[in-house]
C-alpha cells in the first residue's frame, strides 16, 4: 500500500493516478476485512469498486489528464503536511495496540454498545444500531453533507451546459451513443446485469439489520447500476429512464425522511431522533425508526451519486477543438 501511495505521488499523469488509486482502494477494503470492520469494508467496496473511479474520470475529462507542472516547490505546504503527519504518527504511538482489551475505548461506550444494543435497539448488527440510533445525529449530519454536495454540483455546473452550442451537444451525443451501445458484447452484459445490481442494492438496503451493509452502501450500489446504464446507453437515454426530477426529488425526500423521523419522535413526546416512542413497544419503535432513516440515507445517497455523475458526464468530454473555436 505504501508503494502504491508513493507511486501515486510521483506520477504526473493523473489518469494513471486514478488507476492506481483504484488498486489502493481495493487493498484498503481487504485491510478493513482483516480488521473485522465489515461495514467499513463494505462501504469501501461499494464506493471504491465503481463510483469513485467513474467520478474521478468524469472530473478528469473536465480538467485534462496532465497535472500542471508546478514551477515552485511549495515549501510551506510541505512543511505543514510533514508536521501534521509527524503529529499524527506521534499520536498513534500513544494509542493502545490494535485489539488491546485494556484500550480506553473498550471501557466507556463500547461495552454498552456491544452488550446492551441487542435489547435497547434491536438489530443483530451492532454497527447499524450505533450509526443509526446511538449516533443518529452524526449520521444525519453526514447525509446532509452529501445532500449539500449534490446541490452544490447542480448549482455550480448544472447550468453550464446551456451555454454550449447545440452543435456541440449533437456531436457529443452521437459519439456517446456510437461508441458504447453499438458494441453488442457490452450491451448484452449490461442488460443482463443491471437488474441484478439493482436487486442486490435493495437486498443490502433491507438487510442492514442482519449483516454488513445499510443505506449508504445500498445507495451507492444502486447508483452504480444507473451509472453503468448511462455509460453504455448514453446519458440522454439514461435521463429518459430516470428523469432529473426523480433524482432531485429523491435527494430531498431522503433527507426529509431522516429528519422527519426525528421530528416524529419529538411530536410523540420523545427527544429528537429518539425512535423508542414511535411505537408502543420500544424495540419496534427503534426498528421502524432505523428502517426509515436507513431508507432515507439510501435514497439520498443514490440520488446524490446519480446527480453528480450525470451533471459531470453531460459536460464530458471537453473537446479541445471546440475550446479553440469558441
Amino acid at each position: 500500500m505504501t508503494v502504491i501511495g508513493i507511486g501515486l505521488i510521483r506520477m504526473r499523469n493523473l489518469f494513471a493516478v486514478v488507476m492506481l488509486s483504484g488498486i489502493y482502494s481495493l487493498l484498503a477494503a481487504f485491510l478493513y476485512v482483516i480488521m473485522d470492520a465489515v461495514d467499513v469494508a463494505f462501504t469501501e467496496a461499494a464506493v471504491g469498486a465503481g463510483i469513485a473511479t467513474v467520478l474521478m474520470l468524469a472530473t478528469l475529462a473536465l480538467t485534462g489528464t496532465q497535472e500542471k507542472p508546478s514551477r515552485h516547490t511549495n515549501l510551506l505546504s510541505i512543511a505543514i503536511v510533514t508536521v501534521t503527519g509527524a503529529a499524527l504518527v506521534y499520536g498513534t504511538l500513544d494509542m493502545p495496540e490494535y485489539g488491546d482489551p485494556d484500550a480506553p475505548i473498550h471501557h466507556h461506550v463500547v461495552p454498552r454498545y456491544m452488550n446492551d444494543s441487542a435489547h435497547e435497539v434491536g438489530p443483530p448488527n451492532v454497527v447499524t444500531s450505533v450509526l443509526a440510533s446511538y449516533r443518529g445525529f452524526d449520521t444525519l449530519g453526514e447525509v446532509t453533507v452529501i445532500f449539500t454536495a449534490a446541490v452544490g454540483v447542480i448549482a455550480l455546473i448544472g447550468r453550464i451546459r446551456r451555454r454550449r452550442s447545440l452543435n456541440h451537444d449533437a456531436r457529443l451525443n452521437e459519439r456517446w451513443a456510437d461508441t458504447m451501445s453499438s458494441k453488442p458484447v457490452l450491451r448484452v452484459l449490461t442488460k443482463l446485469i443491471i437488474p441484478l445490481i439493482m436487486l442486490f442494492a435493495l437486498y443490502v438496503q433491507f438487510h442492514g439489520d442482519y449483516g454488513p451493509g445499510g443505506g449508504f452502501q445500498a445507495g451507492v450500489i444502486f447508483a452504480s447500476a444507473l451509472i453503468l446504464y448511462g455509460l453504455i446507453f448514453g446519458i440522454d437515454t439514461a435521463r429518459r429512464a430516470v428523469p432529473e426530477w426523480m433524482t432531485r426529488l429523491g435527494l430531498a425526500l431522503g433527507v426529509l425522511m431522516y429528519a422527519g423521523t426525528g421530528v416524529a419522535g419529538l411530536v410523540m413526546g420523545g427527544n429528537f431522533l429518539n425512535y423508542s416512542v414511535l411505537a408502543h413497544d420500544h424495540l419496534h419503535g427503534q426498528h421502524w425508526g432505523i428502517f426509515t432513516i436507513e431508507l432515507g440515507v439510501g435514497i439520498t445517497v443514490a440520488a446524490a451519486m446519480v446527480t453528480i455523475f450525470f451533471t459531470f458526464a453531460r459536460l464530458l468530454p471537453v473537446d479541445p477543438n471546440d475550446e479553440k473555436r469558441s
Binding site: 458484447v185 442488460k191 437488474p195 442486490f200 435493495l202 437486498y203 438487510h207 439514461a238 429512464a241
Partner: protein, 174 residues
C-alpha cells in the same frame, strides 16, 4: 412482458437465496424490491431476449460443461507456454466467422472465445470476430469451428446446423 415476468421470478429467487431469512417483513420487502427492480428495468428497456435470455438456460446444460473443459485445457496450454523459459509464443490476429443468427449469438461466441485463455476476442463486427491468439495451437483450435458450432447450437437450437453435428467428434486441438 413474458420476459418481465420471468425476470421477476428469477430476481425473487435471487433474493431468497441471498437473504436466507424467511420472516414476513423481509419477504414483503423482497417482493417490493423485486417490483422496483423490474419497473426500473422496464423503464430502461433492458428486458428483452438479449437482456434476459431465459430461453438459453435449458440448452446451456450441454454448453457449459463443454466450455468448462475447454477452459481447463486452454489454461494448461497457456500455463505451459508461460512457464517455458523460452516463452514460445506465436501471436496471431485473425478473424473467424460467427455462424449464429443474431447478435446475442455473436456475443455468446465472443465471450466464450475470451473465456478460454489463449484466445481473446478483440472486435465483433457484422458476424465476424477478430481474435488475438497467444499460440498457433490455440488459434487453430478455434479455427476448426468446434466452438462456433457449439455456440450456434446453444443460441439457435440444435436443429439449426444439422449437417455439422457429425463434425463434433473431431475435437479441438485447444
Amino acid at each position: 412482458m413474458i420476459h418481465a415476468i420471468s425476470l421477476g421470478i428469477f430476481l425473487s429467487l435471487f433474493w431468497l437465496l441471498l437473504s436466507g431469512y424467511f420472516k414476513a417483513l423481509l419477504l414483503i420487502l423482497g417482493l417490493i424490491s423485486v417490483g422496483i427492480a423490474v419497473v426500473v428495468a422496464l423503464r430502461m428497456e433492458v428486458i428483452d431476449h438479449e437482456g434476459h435470455p431465459v430461453h438459453l438456460t435449458l440448452r446451456g446444460t450441454w454448453f457449459w460443461p463443454w466450455l468448462t473443459w475447454e477452459i481447463i485445457k486452454a489454461n494448461l496450454d497457456v500455463a505451459k507456454v508461460i512457464l517455458d523459459p523460452k516463452l514460445p509464443i506465436q501471436r496471431l490476429v485473425f478473424r473467424v466467422k460467427a455462424g449464429q443468427s443474431d447478435e446475442l449469438g455473436h456475443v455468446v461466441y465472443a465471450n466464450a472465445i475470451t473465456l478460454t485463455p489463449g484466445t481473446v476476442s478483440i472486435d465483433v463486427n457484422d458476424g465476424e470476430i477478430t481474435v488475438h491468439a497467444l499460440t498457433r495451437g490455440a488459434a487453430e483450435g478455434l479455427a476448426n469451428g468446434e466452438m462456433d458450432r457449439r455456440a450456434t447450437a446453444l443460441v439457435d437450437g440444435p436443429g439449426a446446423l444439422p449437417k455439422d453435428r457429425a463434425g463434433d467428434r473431431t475435437g479441438g486441438t485447444g
